[in-house]
Subunit: 342 residues, 2 copies
Amino acid sequence: MRENRIGRQTIVLPHPPAVIGWGSAAGRKEGRGPLGAAFDFTSADDSLGKKTWEQAETAFQEKALAFALGRAGLRGEDLDVLLAGDLLNQCIASAFHARQAGVPFLGLYGACSTMAESLALAACLLSGGFVRRAAAMTSSHFCSAERQYRNPLEYGGQKPPTAQWTATGSGAVILAAEGTGPRITHVTLGRVVDKGITDVGNMGAAMAPGAYDTLRAHFADTGRGPADYDRIVTGDLGSLGQEIVTDFFRQDGVDLGEVYQDCGVLLFDAKAQDVHAGGSGCGCSALVLTGLLLNEMAAGKLDRLLFCGTGALHSPTSAMQGESVPGICHAVAIEYGKEGTP
Amino acid sequence: MRENRIGRQTIVLPHPPAVIGWGSAAGRKEGRGPLGAAFDFTSADDSLGKKTWEQAETAFQEKALAFALGRAGLRGEDLDVLLAGDLLNQCIASAFHARQAGVPFLGLYGACSTMAESLALAACLLSGGFVRRAAAMTSSHFCSAERQYRNPLEYGGQKPPTAQWTATGSGAVILAAEGTGPRITHVTLGRVVDKGITDVGNMGAAMAPGAYDTLRAHFADTGRGPADYDRIVTGDLGSLGQEIVTDFFRQDGVDLGEVYQDCGVLLFDAKAQDVHAGGSGCGCSALVLTGLLLNEMAAGKLDRLLFCGTGALHSPTSAMQGESVPGICHAVAIEYGKEGTP
């Protein structure tokens, strides 16, 4: 039996699945940010006409998946599996969306690493011939997250400058065993890394060591370095976490350079939009991937992307119990041109 | 490229991975139930000496994994990936356990279907040659779940007769691409099915349609029927849900017969232990699998098992918002003797 692994944490996909569709549905603030014009849909009202923020988040997932299916020329029933997750308790945004989708569903929880986790697992299921077409997606919503993790909106809580702003929106990717498009070639599965940060207003610092750990493993396992990618993105560490990762590598003598950016930094104009350290939430990296990066790949502007989802695996309960914030990061290499077509 | 699917929802594993180890760590009440003698560990005090119930739940995971690794003759670092999930908000029991385990971690959320989901995904990762050794596991804890889903223990809330009792404990399974033991041969991925049940005190009724949907798909896809299995277990529908599934099949002219049982019914003596409709929680089916079923397989008493994890994908928030309870079920066929060895 063939082994499709290299090193300690990295999977090399023998039949790299193709990204045949992607869709993005963004909130109002996200639509007014630097990537605003790139999204398939931008809401005028983040409730999307629903009675609750949770139902609105589900509706963002619906829209993102519909655009992704449209781009792929597929209908929902053409999917063999939907892999999704979100930040809500018991991942209800995804579960209620999956109820409507009516296809086999695998629920995931990796906090803000979920977009990468869903891509990683979907890619393995496809490459192994276990499914033919899969959707990988996530969402987050500022209003549902704010109430659950911090305070009800009406409270008007203030945030420290290290805090991030949970993105409203959803991104969906359709992957297929056959077809043309950018291809997922490698997956590096991350370990949980916790350096003892207890400040839940500083997720970037809590997650940066996990991102460093996985990136280092990816480079060691594959023999690749920053120069082998046109873009390396983490999502979502924010500006502070991005600096920490850059610093960690600098100490190792590795310059990540201009190639490396964080989705939380890319999604908003931090100063003009008052989002402190940048964007966060499962929807943030999903929006940057489906709004910016995959469109760049389709336009021939970007060939080799390392997409690194970073998650903070705490809960309000664990934080109140004095626990520190464990971080995790999964990396997915998406390549066009070499292994991919045309 | 070979396609390893049959029908609409079922995956046939080309290299069926072997179950090379399993471990069970049960709470006090579970230890006093009909399966008490079968568990590797039974607690005298369900806090396990920890300060919080959440930390205790993590400690149950630790114990279950340690026993599973011991039976497999492995150390933690021999694992390529740990797939786990639980019922707690943001799945913290699993995340904090994964922090200690130090191996690549994939967090899952499928409510009480998580044990089957983790086995299904681990089996695909192994069969595709993407990992060599994987741990699949879940946990639940009566005290952490009761507070989160219903009321603090001190409140002394009463339950209706249709309600189930969240099991305290954890079960872990070690799967390997190579090795001898029972083998996972088929995986049927479930869809979300919601027939409009809004009574969160009657999960069995809410989940039964999902279990029926997946079992029916499994039979249709594989051409198998109840007679092809020595045991078919759902987990965890309780006595009422078990009756509903049996009834649904009876209406189709299919007699599930004595072969079919529910893990929630097997774990406790419902009358003597005052658990109303039976056990529930991610830990319930995990304990029955690792305490009873895999031991039966190892002893040559059970050759062909269809293990069907059933989950209710609601949250207290969705229930308070008037939403019904979506159900899901994933089925995993575990066989010894035919595809398996010796």
